[in-house]
Symmetry: C2
Subunit: 368 residues, 2 copies
């Protein structure tokens, strides 16, 4: 079986995974030890503390779930929803739609507010909806990976708090690339992934639950209908003096996450955010200089996910394929209504560097 | 953050994770590429083919789920169960109990047959139960990790098939250590983990569904109430000419699994099983020579999980702790009713070698 021989270093400029720094690769290959080994518990404790720093939260229940980012979404809904709970999902792209699907499967009564893809959630519409309805949970995507739009999560959070609902935020693409301040925003339920701006390979889903969310979890009338993702049991493995076995943690992936978080905090959150902004500005300037147009209005653009309209007459799939095979660069296609209409350039984590932007612009120019 | 500095090579002789061969560590650190990259699809195709060989099945739907072994259990139940389905769970240890918990949470009507811990499921009791009841699913653990017992899955399979039920088998600890022949046994639904006899770090759950199981999945009246583990969607990422994005696969973990399966198949399944048997016999002889007694009768013992009774007057936790800190060896404690009564010595995958058995016996002797 030979397929691993063809795996070569690639400049990952799609919607994730992103490029992985050498320290993270090195950590992945550290010796596997037991999931109850005191040395591993020490690794877990440091991961938890670093996640709290990156998420700007004091939430005790802050830990990585043993699955990819979508498992984080599943975790948040399955632990919080009880049959019949009313949930409002704010949708402006694929991941808002996925939230609706996940919550509906779990028996929630789901209402939605939908916004044009490529535009943010509008605060006024949320205010009007909350004025006339009562929800247990309001859910929104901070950084829509399918369109490159940032929604105003702080403003929405204030409304949700006044309305007495729990506030759920998807930070899969935002965490580690732009400020994420859970406590300041009043976020109760948060999930992310490791393969975007944290620059760890995919496989873990950091989550955080506020004391109010934990109270809802503790007061459930029925068991969480998902043993594997039951946070009420998993916290007994992640905190306290005596750790209880739940499932065997993904040891080596957690080494990788530890190294990834450490790398970010060593650089400093502000310098990391500034690096993302600078790479974004460099990329937009370069694309516009080549005559291309961005999908999203400047004030709502994400630095780490840049959606650009495909120039007329271009075979977009052929361009992506040539970038990959001839230049070793992956960029992303459009999804849903934007398929065939946009490319998505990711500048996430370790990828967000001037030399990488320079390289993709040069390569794109030569292919077009 | 320094905890990674204390992670040192450890002889993993507990109930899993097991020691990881160098080729697998090397694969974990290969460059991350995109989850839709044609080179990655090639890696996936080879993994699928190797899993079919190790599981001895022609099942098309054979793939690793993106979670640890317990996610495999969750996957099998959540895809197969519809509300009110009658399920029979055969219980002779922790993992049978977990099956009952998982299935009950999902709304199944669960019946159980319980057997003393340390003994196998009795075929006669299953026959009697099936004579008087009709079930959609009958579920059993092949190799009970909590006790070291092998249950007669071939004989049970014949009964389940005659009874017209679907047959679910937990092969978390057996796969790659003793013969697992899904098609010959008539297994419809199977799950395993990577951190036992496959000797890949924890993080993936290989599963397999027979055509009959896939038919039940296709004919569900309701969506699978778990988006993340919905196999009806995930198969569109794992097979066919055009692959559809579901969630971002855990790329580097899958490199590791590829290398682990390749390592096993290069050695050959029969030699691998023989190596497990030889290590088991060497360990049992050594423990008995030290005056200790095995928990399980010889004909039901698993080679990869050896439960031995703790000699009277021994502080069992202190022994385990000294083995770990002074000798770099992890062994396992007892669970549930066997806590404080047994140790569990794992001889799984790469761990199952004469020099390792020699080392643990010598170390144990010096500690006792």
């Amino acid at each position: 079986m030979n397929a691993l021989k063809d795996v070569k270093e690639t400049l990952l400029m799609g919607p994730g995974p992103s490029c992985v720094p050498p320290a993270v690769y090195a950590a992945l290959g550290l010796p596997t030890i037991g999931h109850l080994d005191p040395r591993f518990i020490a690794v877990m404790n440091e991961i938890k503390s670093m996640l709290q720093q990156v998420m700007q939260t004091k939430n005790e229940v802050t830990l990585p779930m043993s699955g990819t980012g979508s498992a984080g979404m599943e975790t948040c809904f399955v632990n919080m929803i009880e049959p019949g709970d009313r949930v409002l999902v704010l949708i402006n792209g694929v991941f808002g739609q996925r939230m609706q699907d996940v919550a509906t499967r779990l028996g929630a009564q789901v209402d939605t507010l939908e916004f044009e893809w490529g535009t943010p959630v509008q605060v006024g519409a949320v205010r009007a909806k909350l004025a006339n309805n009562r929800y247990r949970i309001v859910a929104v995507v901070h950084a829509e990976t399918s369109t490159g739009v940032r929604s105003p999560v702080a403003e929405i959070g204030a409304l949700v708090r006044s309305a007495g609902a729990l506030y759920m935020v998807d930070g899969v693409t935002s965490l580690g690339g732009i400020p994420v301040t859970l406590d300041a925003w009043g976020v109760d339920i948060f999930y992310s992934g490791t393969q975007k701006c944290l620059s760890c390979p995919p496989g873990l889903a950091p989550v955080s639950f506020s004391p109010r969310a934990v109270e809802k979890l503790r007061n459930r009338k029925t068991k969480v209908p998902n043993w594997y993702l039951d946070v009420s049991m998993i916290i007994n493995y992640w905190q306290g003096a005596k750790r209880a076995y739940h499932h065997t943690a993904p040891i080596n992936m957690l080494y990788g996450l530890h190294a990834a978080l450490d790398t970010i905090l060593q650089e400093g959150l502000e310098p990391v955010f500034a690096r993302h902004r600078a790479a974004h500005e460099q990329l937009v300037a370069g694309l516009e200089a080549m005559g291309m147009q961005m999908l999203v209005a400047p004030e709502y653009r994400l630095p780490m996910l840049n959606a650009v309209k495909i120039p007329a007459g271009v075979d977009e799939a052929a361009v992506r394929s040539r970038l990959l095979t001839e230049h070793g660069i992956e960029i992303g296609a459009g999804l849903g209504p934007l398929a065939g209409k946009i490319w998505r350039f990711g500048l996430m984590g370790h990828t967000a560097r001037p030399e990488n932007v320079e390289r993709v612009l040069r390569s794109l120019e030569s292919v077009l």
